[in-house]
Amino acid sequence: MGTLATSNHIIQGEYRVSNDPDVALTTLLGSCVAACIWDPVLHVGGMNHFLLPGDNEQQIRDSERFGVHLMELLVNALFRQGASRQRLVAKLFGGANLNTQLADIGARNGEFAQRFLRNEDIRVIGESLGGDRARKLQFWPASGRARQMLLPKDVAPTEPRKTSPIDLAGSGAVELF
């Protein structure tokens, strides 16, 4: 299930918000997507990190429900900090296709995030989606500044992930704090 991250490093299935100008949220993205959303007037923002797996229509639908939930958790946490829906803006990162032999889950993740933000009238003012390389991402939630580093080809992030009911690739997953 979507979980509030306990550190500034966000792993799959987590989200975190902050208004501290000295805080940078970080994450590592392969085919996962991170949505960075903030209120530029109130200087509060946050990041989530999700993967929507699934090979068939039912699995995809289930995982999209989880994605919507994780987006909602982030946006609701921003509202609780006083952010205004009308002012929210977003940047999207990730959604790479690291293994061209497999279905392009990354592209689907990116399209899902774009669709969600369009539905919710949240403007996307920057994005780096797709490609075939993993990304290391830093996001300063108070200012909206983001910086990414593309990792060399064939380097796939191997990170712990939160198990979720639709975590289809969850075998052997470890949770680290």
Partner: protein, 129 residues
Amino acid sequence: MSFLQQLKVLIVDDTSTSRMLIRDGLEQLGIRNIIHAADGEQALKMMMSTPAHLIISDFNMPKLDGLQLLQAIRSYKPTAATPFIILTGKADATVLARGRALGLNNYLMKPVDMDALKRAIEGVVGKLR
């Protein structure tokens, strides 16, 4: 008209994507008469003009939250008995106790499992088919 065709459901959620997801789920169950509200205030106005038979509401919303909406629905005589199901991100014991005291019929955890949604609806309005 069959019961399912008549059953009118009000979905209340401030996230339009969530409203669409719930709507899809209800349509899969054969429910056709579905109305939406984006917040508690709008939901109250709709219930006063075109009351629904069942309310499925998010908990975390601006203006009125799910429980405040429930309280208003329960205290307005024409809608006081309308079945009310809340969708919530976490099952907070205090919130649920308050909900029960206010006459909440059921709650579901987000992300909502469609089978659980069906069972919850059947629990308050009877077998759907």
